[in-house]
């Protein structure tokens, strides 16, 4: 049995943000997560630290929070953010003045996050920026937003907390909430690979996102959300260099945006009443997105879709509102005040962009309950790798590695790249580029296994974007499995099962977009691993 001040449940952006905040304040904290960092909603969003432009009309608080905090995030993790200039087409000429006014208001908030003021574009200028845009787009307005790798953001928050002494337990599921005779929560019973364990704590913080109604039932408290299913499609490479705001066939707003080495199209927003552990993208959802995007980029149907992915938005509950009109605001639930149950606090709702602020609010409440007077420092202390800026050219030269590979590594690891490349001094074979699509060096995989709690191929993928390119891991997953097996001393059976689990996970994303070259790739992929490698037959189906 272990004693903690706080046990945080869920390693999404809220969970990792809160645990980092509390750890920096000097509390004894533990984070338990049944899967991996950012394996729920936090890892399945558009990856934007945006200002909440579309909430400006009916939810101005969300816009303000988002913009303010986006500025802080840029300071603590400068390497992980990239500017995405947005182009918003205006369909009707008469609405141009309206849009102008709208964006003038937004400019005030955009300043908070180093965004440039808006500009009005005419047809010719639009076509210069996006040559493949549809002829019908006559006017557009630009804004500035910031993109981020949400998986890395959660991982770095978790690692930062661990560096301050927090206990981070991945692949550990809460099976039960421990209660005292008067029904107050005094800890959790968890299960991991080694069995069951009781973790006692003064406060249990629920940051379980889409799972919050499920965990709340176990805890005997009431948190209600309106879970909304959001689907995105990833296209190979960049179809455009500016993010385009589009209207879907039903008038909903969507994005087509360049994101790292790919293009993302999203998203759907539908009430979801199913199992958050069994999420599937259906082909009609893919078609819905393509039909919307096609109106603006007529050629997009021919572009190569590499995968589709899905997450559940844990939106706060409201009755009688359309999914799209639901507030993206968040709420911290003090169950002592609401239901009289002590020892448990929950958080739900909110946006990725304002995670730090939400975490601060939750941490403040917890500290108040624990009588801890330490102040929040998460906006001042950089995340791991954010301590200083390093140069890709210099590092590439010093370690004899291709500059483009170092550039991508710095994007993920910031100044830690120096330590990663340092591994190649003793082991030059780690200069091997394992995933060529991204690219990812062997050294980075070894680093993630040793320093970033990656113990499966899926986790390596989440940490490094290994195998997310157009071949979807066809070539790199074997080599990565070999590196994983060597570094962790896995048995042949474990290594092969890990590989199959990875292929299985990958299949979930590929299955809804099987067409064109992706279908060819899939045939080759399955022939390699199942016909030649024979893995399905050797290991048996589970």
């Amino acid at each position: 049995m272990s004693e903690y001040d706080v046990v945080v449940v869920g390693a999404g952006v809220n969970g990792t943000g809160i645990v980092r905040d509390l750890a920096l304040r000097g509390l004894k904290v533990c984070l338990v997560e049944k899967s991996d960092f950012a394996s729920g909603a936090s890892g399945a969003n558009t990856g934007m630290i945006h200002g909440g432009l579309r909430y400006l009309i009916y939810d101005v608080d969300t816009t303000a929070h988002s913009c303010l905090d986006s500025g802080y995030i840029q300071k603590i993790v400068p390497f992980l953010l990239f500017r995405i200039p947005f182009v918003t087409p205006i369909d009707l000429k008469v609405t141009v003045p309206f849009f102008e006014t709208y964006f003038e208001v937004y400019d005030k908030y955009a300043k908070l996050k180093n965004g440039m003021p808006h500009t009005l574009l005419h047809k010719k200028e639009i076509q210069e920026l996006i040559p493949n845009i549809s002829e019908h787009v006559q006017y557009a307005v630009t804004t500035d937003e910031w993109g981020i790798d949400p998986q890395r953001l959660c991982t770095l928050n978790g690692l930062s907390a661990a560096a301050c002494g927090a206990d981070i337990r991945l692949h550990t599921e809460v099976v039960e909430f421990l209660k005292d005779p008067s029904g107050n929560v005094v800890g959790v019973r968890v299960r991991d690979r080694s069995g069951f364990q009781d973790l006692r704590s003064k406060i249990v913080m629920q940051a379980t996102g889409p799972w919050i109604m499920r965990t709340s039932r176990k805890a005997g408290v009431d948190v209600k959300i309106r879970p909304g299913k959001g689907v995105h499609i990833t296209f190979d490479r960049r179809l455009l260099n500016y993010s385009l705001i589009i209207n879907m066939v039903d008038g909903r707003m969507g994005f087509i945006m360049p994101h790292e080495n790919s293009t993302i199209l999203g998203t759907t927003d539908d009430d979801y009443f199913g199992d958050p552990d069994d999420l599937r993208v259906t082909e009609d959802e893919v078609d819905y997105l393509i039909s919307g995007a096609e109106h603006y980029l007529p050629g997009i149907r021919k572009a190569r879709m590499v995968r589709a992915w899905v997450g559940i938005r844990p939106t706060l509950f409201a009755w009688g509102k359309n999914e799209d009109k639901l507030s993206r605001d968040h709420k911290v639930f003090d169950h002592e005040k609401i239901e009289g149950v002590k020892g448990i606090v929950s958080i739900a709702g909110g946006k990725l962009a304002s995670y730090r602020l939400m975490s601060e609010e939750a941490a403040d409440l917890i500290c108040q309950k624990l009588g801890c007077s330490a102040k929040c420092q998460t906006h001042l202390i950089p995340l791991p790798g954010g301590e200083k800026i390093v140069s890709d050219k210099e590092l590439a030269q010093e370690y004899g590695v291709p500059c483009y590979a170092v550039h991508r590594m710095i994007y993920r690891h910031g100044a830690k790249s120096v330590e990663i490349l340092e591994l190649t001094r003793e082991r030059p074979e780690l200069k091997q580029i394992v995933c060529r699509c991204e690219p990812v060096l062997a050294a980075e995989l070894v680093w993630c296994i040793k320093n970033e709690m990656a113990s499966t191929l899926t986790q390596l993928r989440n940490r490094t974007r290994l195998g997310t390119g157009m071949c979807q891991g066809m070539r790199c997953s074997l080599k990565a499995a070999a590196i994983l097996a060597r570094e962790l001393g896995l048995s042949a059976r474990d290594a092969e099962e890990n590989l199959v689990a990875f292929l299985e996970k990958r299949w979930r994303g590929n299955r809804p977009v099987l067409q064109g070259s992706t279908m060819e790739q899939e045939e080759l992929h399955q022939a390699s691993y199942f016909l030649v490698g024979n893995l399905n037959h050797l290991l048996g189906n589970k």
């Binding site: 580029i433 074997l478 042949a492 279908m519 016909l531 024979n534």
Partner: protein, 433 residues
């Protein structure tokens, strides 16, 4: 526009296409092959499958039925629409057809493949697992080799991205153990190009240019390790392979074996080269180009259009064999609809006509289960003539062979080479009548 005349035009230069061309040529016809480049055969692992045991229990790989005829019988009970049905009416006869097709395409004297159409062997691949197959290119590692040589040396090539010796060794020892063979495995590495990452194909080219140096390094490693059997990822170039192996086996007094490869694959390159040589040997013209259209009159195809050196070419023929493969080789595609790319022929899956269907319905939620989508293809009658949706002949002089035929699903049935050989030769024979 340039005009070319032939009697038989085979479209596709993979194993099925070449089988058809050789069979038609043997019947005395004038044959040409139109090829748009790499076929799926260029991705070959080195194994040529006829039929894996369809009733083997997943997870119990040490139990399998080695009798190929029995396997085919079981397969046809389970997959009645399998293209083997078109080849002959009994499993024994199907095997005979495959055997004579293999003898036509791979005549014994040049020793390109080894194995037996009647028996399944277990062959090992570059990740250290194994699979059932009938033929392989010669000098590939099978379970039988391990029964006679206990002391094995694994030779790897430095910087090879497609092969990891440590991972191979771990898996290999695990699976040989499961199969009840005791192996004493040592490892050595050939320095090679000295690059941190190099693909199999790059390694092959390096060996091609540095054959003597490679041989020397190999022999030296073997002598230092006193092995009876040397195993290596498949890297030897087509032209020099046989000579390198002979000299190595003689100089180092050792048996040499390669491991089945994954794409990008050297054995695939070698198979493509071999098939091209066979066409040359038989005086069959290979035309490079992508078919861009066709001319037909009623139910008869008159000619195929293509482009060569920016010049439009029309190839007139009396009979046409479509051996353009499945999705991978580009014979069929799925965008909004499933489509046969060249003639727009009807496509089937499990005897059902396909048009605008969600692909999802033809796949399984688990990747490790068979996906009907890889069975999609053309329906043909016993003479390999392509059929339309009502069971009528699509074109009276259009025949099909290989993985473009519906029902094959070579990934899960392990019938790829068998179907290519037997259906190819059958199509080649019938067009000649």
């Amino acid at each position: 526009m340039k005009n070319i005349e032939t009697e038989v035009l085979v479209i596709g230069s993979g194993l099925a296409g070449v089988s058809a061309a050789l069979a038609a040529k043997k019947s005395g016809k004038k044959v040409m092959v139109l090829s748009q480049g790499a076929a799926a055969s260029a991705m070959s692992s080195g194994a040529l499958d006829i039929c894996a045991d369809p009733v083997a229990v997943p997870g119990v790989p040490e139990k399998w039925c080695p009798d190929c005829a029995q396997n085919i019988e079981q397969l046809l009970l389970r997959v009645p629409e399998h293209p083997y049905r078109l080849v002959a009416d009994s499993a024994e006869k199907i095997i005979e057809e495959i055997k004579s097709a293999a003898a036509l395409v791979f005549p014994g004297q040049d020793g390109f493949i080894s194995g037996d159409a009647k028996t399944i062997q277990l062959a090992f691949n570059q990740i250290g697992t194994f699979k059932q197959t009938s033929f392989t290119q010669t000098h590939f590692l099978s379970l039988e080799d391990l029964k006679t040589s206990a002391s094995v040396l694994l030779l790897s090539f430095s910087g090879l991205i497609d092969f990891d010796p440590g991972f191979f060794a771990k898996n290999f020892l695990h699976w040989t153990g499961r199969l009840g063979v005791k192996v004493n495995l040592n490892q050595a590495q050939i320095a090679g190009a000295g690059l941190p990452d190099i693909s199999s194909l790059q390694a092959m080219r390096w060996i091609d240019e540095n054959a003597e140096k490679t041989l020397e390094a190999m022999v030296k490693a073997v002598k230092a390790n006193r092995a009876e059997l040397v195993i290596m990822p498949a890297l030897l170039p087509f032209d020099k392979r046989q000579e390198l192996i002979n000299r190595m086996e003689k100089d180092a007094q050792v048996k040499f074996r390669e491991l089945l490869a994954m794409p990008p694959s050297v054995p695939g390159k070698r198979l493509s080269q071999y098939l091209e040589n066979r066409l040359n040997q038989e005086g069959i013209e290979l035309i490079s180009g992508q078919a861009s259209g066709f001319n037909a009159e009623g139910k008869k195809i008159l000619s195929l259009l293509t482009e060569r050196n920016l010049e439009k070419v029309e190839i007139r023929g009396r009979a046409f064999v479509l051996a353009t493969g499945s999705f991978l080789a580009g014979g069929i595609e799925k965008h909004d609809e499933f489509k046969e790319k060249l003639f727009g022929l009807d496509l089937f899956c499990k005897d059902q006509l396909l048009s605008k269907i969600f692909t999802e319905k033809l796949t399984s939620p688990s990747i490790a289960r068979p996906h009907p989508v890889f069975s999609v293809g053309l329906k043909a009658e016993q003479k390999m003539r392509v059929l339309g949706r009502g069971g009528e002949t699509a074109y009276e002089n259009l025949f099909a062979a290989g993985s473009i035929l519906a029902g094959g699903n070579y990934i899960f049935n392990g019938t790829g080479a068998g179907v290519a050989l037997a259906s190819g030769v059958k199509a080649g024979k019938t067009v000649s009548n």
